[in-house]
């Protein structure tokens, strides 16, 4: 899973966490191991501890479903975060903004910052460079000997950067880069530039 840290702004961008998805499945009788949902929080903790950002910006699809029992966990997690939290809301974010605002989370449709347009869905930002999520981008690499491997990635085109999905249990979508695109693939320990 990957995040983007904007050092100058001390802003941590995290996209498509899909909290609550596992609880949602369980509520409808599909026994996905419940321990798996904790992984999202340990990963969030690790990212926050590493960058120590002033602001955390979730790029949409933070909470996967309607309100369920996992909301409490999320509340507890938010309470111990020191920085400010912003949510750029996405298609899955159907929980009322008031609920977020109660917890001090600012909910917006988009965010314009220093020539950058932050949205959930990829958008044509005109002069602004667009940073988005939503797609869960991945890249498929092929080698000789008929080898192939699929990896989640940061997908950059001239005026746009699509962030990888952060959440566990979310899946991804393979994009085919063309000549003007840059792809940074995510492996266990490093982010590797694979095409530019």
């Amino acid at each position: 899973m990957g995040v983007l840290f904007w050092e100058q702004q001390s802003l941590l961008l995290i996209s498509d966490v899909h909290l609550g998805k596992i609880s949602h499945f369980r509520k409808y009788g599909a026994a996905v191991p419940q321990v798996a949902l904790l992984k999202n929080y340990t990963a969030l903790d690790a990212a926050v501890a590493f960058f120590n950002p002033k602001t955390i910006c979730f790029m949409g699809d933070l909470f996967h479903s309607a309100m369920n029992s996992e909301w409490k966990l999320f509340q507890e997690w938010t309470a111990q975060v020191r920085g400010k939290i912003i949510l750029v809301s996405g298609n899955h974010d159907i929980i009322s903004p008031l609920k977020y605002e109660e917890m001090g989370i600012e909910v917006v449709d988009q965010l314009i910052l220093n020539g950058f347009l932050l949205t959930h869905h990829p958008q044509d930002g005109g002069d602004l460079f667009n940073i988005s999520g939503h797609i869960h981008p991945a890249v498929r690499l092929r080698g000789s000997g008929r080898q192939s491997v699929k990896l989640p990635c940061f997908f950059r085109s001239p005026q746009q950067l699509i962030l990888p999905a952060f959440g566990e249990f979310t899946g991804n979508h393979v994009l085919k880069p063309n000549k003007r695109d840059t792809v940074y693939a995510i492996t266990e320990n490093e982010v590797i530039l694979v095409a530019n």
Binding site: R26, Y28, G29, A30, V32, Q34, G145, R146, E168
Partner: protein
Amino acid sequence: MNNDQLYQLAKNWFHAQDWKPFAFQKQSWKAFLQGKNGLLNAPTGSGKTYALWFPIMLNYLKQNPKYKTTHKKGLKAVWITPLRALSHEIKQSAERVNEDLGTGLTVGIRSGDTSAKERAQQKKNMPDLLITTPESLQLLLSSKGYDKTFKNCSAIVVDEWHELLGTKRGVQMELGLSRLKTIAKDLRIWGISATIGNLDQAREVLLGPTSKALQNSVLIKANLNKKIKVKSIIPKEMETFPWRGHLGIRLLEDVIPIINKSKTTLLFTNTRSQCEIWFQKILEKHPEYAGEIAMHHGSINKETRIWVEQAIRRENLKAVVCTSSLDLGVDFAPVETVVQIGGPKGVARFLQRAGRSGHRPGKESVIYFLPTHAIELVEASALQQAVKLKAVEDRIPYLNSFDVLIQYLVTLAISDGFYPDQIFKEVTDTFCFQALSKAQWTWLLNFIVLGSQSLQSYDEYKKVEVESDGRFVVHHRGIAMRHRFQIGTIVGDANLSVRYQRGGYIGTIEESFISKLTPGDVFTFAGRNLEFIRIRDMQVHVRNSTKKTRKVPSWMGGRLTLSAQMSRLLRNELYSVYKDPAQQSSEIKALHPLFEQQGLESAVPKPDEFLIETFKTRDGYHHIFYPFEGRFVHEAMGSLLAYRISLLLPVTFSLAFNDYGFELLSDQEVDMQQVLDNDLFSTAYLLEDLQKSLNSTEMARRKFRDIAVISGLVFTGYPDKGIKMKHLQSSSQLLFDVFREYESDNLLFQQAFTETFEHQLEEGRLRLALERIARQEILWKACNNPTPFSFPIITDRLREKLSSEKLADRIKRMSAKLMRK
């Protein structure tokens, strides 16, 4: 009436038809009326339905002597058939006897095709004799008060039991029977099976290995000795006959005289796409057959299939191109000749197909074998031996299918609920769950109630609830409804229905094919050229097109493996190359040019030799091994060897395999001498190594998909409205990863591996094959070019992969290639 009077009734009926009952029919009547259970081994078209319908009815007459005036209400017998298509045939034969004997019994069908209205009526008033499928029987168990429905049922007949035996539908059947044994006090259980290698075991599975039912049972064999003649179609010009391929179209003109010579010919193909192509090509080359040939496969709509079946019976058709969809059931007397296109992969299947022709008594069955590529002629030659020896395969029953058991328990919880102690006893009486431990049972109960093994915080898991008296029930209506939809999905294929835009159902098609099309594309399906318009609500909308196309949907089901017996016979045929030509079959003789070429480029192995070839092409370095053991064993041996080599050096392989051998393809050369020196074919640590190699290959993951669906971990959606199958696939994949990381002791997760070992990789056979290789001398040939033997393997595009390299290293090499595009 006493039993003798009843037999007389049956005999008289046969006389009235100008028939004479066979010994096996009389034996079945007698055993049934004595209250025995049994397995009847009889082929299609032998009169097996009369062997069991009769005693069922006679038993009713015995119980109810006043049958002419008073009719006793309620279900008396259930006839289970794995194929819905057969139910009408079975119903007709029952009605015929019913009418002639004046029993006053009613016959009804209940299957996925039965209308909701009719089903509701049946629920109120069951027919006396019910014909249904395993799935519909499970659905009956999910309705309230099912015990009353079955209380007075006197017989359950499971038709085509051999078809169910090696499948999870068979397990579903075992569980259903375990329940019915308890609630129906005077029940006889009968199976009908074609010839398979393990008939005794088939009876054990049907009745329960330690049950009273088994003690009180018989095995009756029809023993109708039938002559079968196998003729191979040998290409006239062997030199130009292709080394690879799977269609066989090149020999089309050789089939025409065969079709012309007989009244009706069935052409059996191995896959539906092959079926479509053959049908298309025959019409293209011989338009004079228009209206006289037809096509029959499982994805074509029911009406068309029934029309074709009736046309065969009325002798209106010269030829029918078909798949295994015509393997079972109905008798087609007019069929004189059968052509098998491509290797049938199993002796039993081949015999069954051969038996489709020449049904008239005393007539010989003739079956032609048409090879799709050169080496398949060896298989043709081996098949002749197999037919002579009647070397029929076993059907291996499943053990501990936890997914099916979970589904069954929820089914019971939906209807009247269940008490675990009682059901545990019934379940452990079945063959499948005879070794189920108390701990596993507790695990399963926890799974359906808590969704885990302990109570967890923040959890809203809801499925089965436990009432204060210990009864397990489902209260939630949504859960019950979703579960009922899930019951039918045990075969779990990702199919979409194909319709014209203005309605009109054409058939079903795999989503994987459709997903590659864009609107406007034209493809061939059900013998027509169709333009793809869109997908909506699990339906593919199309319109007729006049454009020509080469796109034909493929169905994944066609990949079968050679059985152990066939593999052995195949090797023997191959070794006969070194025999005196007078002792060689005509197929082997015809292959001489190919063997010569093979000998020139590499070698044809002798019985004490194990052939390995290495060469380089544009694709990379090929390492090819020839155990001749069948696809599944090769898949296992390939991943085992790849794993063991990967321990010696960081390397990435892509694996391909067919029935003759397997290939490890890499972008670097493997030092074969090192492989041989390290004794990598050893049987030591076999299971451990296989397990580790499995983590890298993805077999268990694929098995898990069905397990997740059957056990209700993922929901396939409502018919025509559900989530896309692709979505389902990916969430079962995600689930697999989650289990692997967090809950690897999950029984369903482990089941994926057990199934892979027992049913996919055939670990037992693998071990024997490795022991054989250990006794053989290794014949390693470093070749300059691809050899005739290697051709069908290296051109296979369906591949597995295994790697021991660092991901980052692989990516660096691959990204170089990505950029060049």
